[in-house]
Symmetry: C2
Subunit: 342 residues, 2 copies
DNA sequence: CTGAAAGCGCTAACAA
DNA sequence: TTGTTAGCGCTTTCAG
């Protein structure tokens, strides 16, 4: 807690500026808020005074007086897997830089299910996924605070959301493997508490079914997105008597681990095992074999989220709820090859 | 911008609570602020009313009235290399979770050199490194806003800072290589606009000199911390007629890339080339050969920074500037071996 | 184009 | 223990 008041007597307010400039505080206020109706000579005087006194308006007073707030909260579930992922940093970066440009104050909340923060005073909220914090979304919704959900296609709530088309991305990846002649395709999935993991699994199954390839349960292994569990899963799959010839992995960092395990076991990639990841994490570019993966427009999604939120925060605009699905794209690199001995 | 005022007439204030509870607004205020001097029966009534009305106090009014602010800003330089690094996410996570626990509002500013944000209304600032944004630190300093600098040992400013002991960490790493019998030790450095890169280079040189090993300029290659430049650097070193037998790399992600390049060139690690990284990035645990590296207490540094800031923000405490150096630790794994043909 | 004055919602003396 | 009241710094009618 910092006293900005009495202790720090040199705190300058709009009054001081007004006095120095020889005008009323309303005029100062007008200049600050760029009203066009101020006489040029006055404007200059005020601006000079502002500079001299290094005046910065109190945002609190402004917000109290106007009832408006340009504060945006970014709520990130406090979930381990979240922070393993490439995803979250891109998100923060995308949102952070755009908010800076738009002069929005970005408040960061890393929150677990229970905790609740004071939503009053926040102009809008961006939820980075919903994981065990659904009630917070509902709370904001019922408080009619403008909000946007990212990375989760929310069907059962009247909220604007932007999500990746995980299912079709996954399906594309698996169909690509099928086109290469693979039939024994395994899937190392992410954590099923995330929608992304569920949808990627769904896409995997969909592609198999569409091509009349039976879905084999033993070929599907769930993980928490960590490399450690990816390793275990890979080892298990590789040891199978009827070993898969291709693996679709729910994240790039796990896919990299799978490739490592495979190579340790003496398998060649892609000759002996094809691997596809998901994320387009730049790490996939490196390594002995570059990773074929599904690209997702993370930064765009993040920035679009801010833009959508801006619309919702603008009282002058119409507010219809949007459900946006961002396209994904298969990026073919070196980690897959056509099946030979077929 | 959101109207919290007229448009949204159902905005409840302390007055409404007072009316419903049948007490004065001061009593409500006292209950909210946990004054012990409120009669129990009144407290209960107020709390009930608060619940019924779903009242949340306006933080703006509170801050305006008290002159106190529990807002902490985290300022991150908008520098590409920052976001390549493992560092920044750990930082955000460490600071974010602690702020949440302490009920501090965390404001995130991703900022390039020029931009300046309204520092008024911010109770304290944490600067995540100083890279081309020194003047912002100076500005905050001259505004006497409580501030802490992380990851940069600031000598020429009377500010509290917490930094990693990069130099001794680097020296430890290089001495370890020397102890293994290496004499031809190269260094792939980070971006020299960061203090960390400079200090790691310094530690490298220091260890060599201490052991009477000449510093060879051609063995030192500067990068921007990216894997791409690490690759180039590694290729260059490996092709040298008098190839180094060991490389100390300024970051783990670059070190991983170096290992990959080496393996692509048919070199065995650690038999033909020893590699040490810096960061203790979990990625280093995986891969064909686990990476020997220098561990740094990132989360601790982040959280200590918040604690130090809290002290500075507390008007009741003494405020002496502290310069804190966090220890680093060599983590020996598999990527180094003793030099044989010596 | 400008100034006076009434709030915005809350806290903190001060009195009672 | 409680209520009254004067601000906190700014915006915004409303007159002029």
């Amino acid at each position: 807690m910092t006293r900005t008041k009495k202790t720090n007597s040199k705190n300058i307010s709009i009054k001081d500026v007004a006095r120095l400039a020889g005008v009323s505080i309303s005029t100062v206020s007008r200049v600050i808020n760029k009203f066009s109706s101020v006489k040029e000579s006055h404007r200059i005087k005020v601006l000079d005074a502002v500079k001299q006194l290094k005046f910065q308006p109190s945002v609190f007073a402004q917000r109290l007086a106007t009832g408006r707030s340009n504060v945006v909260a970014l709520v990130i579930p406090r979930y381990e897997g979240m922070f393993y992922s490439f995803y979250v940093l891109e998100l923060i970066r995308g949102i952070g830089t755009l908010c800076e440009a738009l002069k929005l104050d970005l408040l960061l909340h890393i929150i677990d299910g229970k905790l609740s923060f004071n939503q009053k005073g926040v102009g809008g909220i961006i939820f980075a996924d919903i994981i065990s914090n659904r009630h917070q979304v509902e709370e904001a919704f019922s408080n009619s605070i403008p909000l946007v959900v990212i990375n989760n296609y929310v069907r059962d709530l009247e909220v604007t959301c932007l999500a990746l088309d995980n299912q079709s991305g996954a399906a594309k990846a698996v169909e690509y493997l099928i086109d290469l002649g693979h039939k024994k395709i395994a899937h190392i999935s992410g954590d099923m508490i995330t929608q992304a993991a569920l949808q990627r699994l769904e896409g995997y199954k969909q592609a198999l079914k569409k091509n009349k390839i039976p879905v084999r349960d033993e070929y599907i292994i769930e993980t928490d997105y960590s490399r450690g569990q990816a390793r275990q899963a890979a080892e298990k799959l590789i040891k199978m008597p009827d070993r898969p010839t291709a693996i679709f992995v729910a994240s790039d960092s796990m896919a990299l681990e799978v490739m490592t395990v495979a190579m340790e076991s003496g398998l060649k990639i892609p000759a002996d095992l094809s691997v596809v990841g998901f994320d387009d994490n730049p790490s996939g570019l490196y390594g002995p074999v570059s990773l074929t993966t599904v690209r997702q427009p993370l930064v765009k999604m993040a920035q679009d989220a801010v833009k959508e939120l801006m619309i919702l925060m603008d009282p002058k605009q119409e507010h219809k709820v949007k459900k946006i699905l961002m396209p994904t794209e298969l990026v073919i690199r070196e980690s897959c090859s056509a099946l030979k001995n077929q």
